[in-house]
């Protein structure tokens, strides 16, 4: 019977999730960011 020689990773990857703070930062960043394109140049504007 074939043996599997490779080691199993210690932590299963399925349960891994980024920190809540990271996700909430991304959502707020997305809300605050607007990109305006003027003549092939894009300007990023972040609302306070």
């Amino acid at each position: 019977m074939a043996k599997i020689y490779s080691k199993k990773t210690v932590v299963s990857n399925n349960n891994l999730k980024p920190k809540k703070e990271v996700v909430s930062f991304l959502l707020s960043y997305s809300k605050a960011l607007s990109v305006i394109k003027i003549n092939n140049t894009s300007f990023e504007i972040i609302a306070n």
């Binding site: 990773t9 932590v11 990857n13 399925n14 349960n15 891994l16 999730k17 980024p18 920190k19 990271v22 996700v23 930062f25 991304l26 959502l27 960043y29 997305s30 809300k31 960011l33 607007s34 990109v35 394109k37 894009s42 990023e44």
Partner: protein, 194 residues
């Protein structure tokens, strides 16, 4: 009520149209896959979080600037971005390797304090004093060349110009100066080591 699962493509479309909730759904849907992928390569939770964040910042910027070409491949595209950021991360750390203290590896094995201990400092000062005394014993012409070479860090060309002798003479005087000093050291059995 049954909830209809919108496809990634539709969510992306919604998000580009201004629906911020669509991004939340997209992140929720793929976060464990993307984060797991990053973590599998990095094995550090904090760095993985940073790369995850940078990945989505790129995603958000690209989507908001309408330069994303939807071909029904949202997840592979995000994975590609995170893959590139992982490569960047390794490039950076290669240039500036980071060492972490483990049981087998102590950070102090590669870090050391170059400063001399008090005892060594005293010895070193004593050696300097002895050396100066030895130099004082040399004939004037040899002493002059040795001082210029060792203490003023001048080249033999400069020494020869200043003293008005040829380079060979300056070299010869230096040689004799060292030989004479060695002789005195041997004769009196002076120890000049730290």
């Amino acid at each position: 009520m049954a909830t209809i699962q919108l496809t990634d493509a539709l969510l992306v479309q919604d998000y580009v149209a201004g629906n911020e909730n669509a991004l939340a759904v997209l992140i929720k849907r793929h976060e464990s896959k993307i984060y797991g992928f990053i973590y599998s390569k990095i094995s550090d939770r904090d760095i993985s979080n940073d790369i995850f964040q940078d990945t989505f910042i790129k995603v958000i910027k690209t989507l908001k600037s309408s330069s994303y070409n939807e071909e029904g491949k949202f997840l592979p595209w995000v994975m590609r971005i995170s893959h590139n950021l992982i490569v960047d991360h390794y490039r950076k750390t290669k240039k500036m390797p980071m060492f972490r203290e483990t049981e087998e590896f102590s950070i102090f094995s590669i870090m050391s304090d170059d400063a001399l201990s008090i005892e060594n400092k005293i010895i070193s000062e004593q050696v300097e004093v002895d050396l100066k005394k030895l130099i004082e014993e040399l004939p004037a012409d040899q002493k002059e060349v040795l001082m210029m070479r060792m203490y003023q860090d001048m080249s033999f060309k400069e020494i020869s110009e200043i003293t008005g002798v040829s380079i060979n003479t300056a070299l010869g005087r230096m040689r004799y100066a060292l030989m004479n000093m060695r002789k005195v050291i041997d004769k009196h059995q002076i120890i000049l080591t730290n």
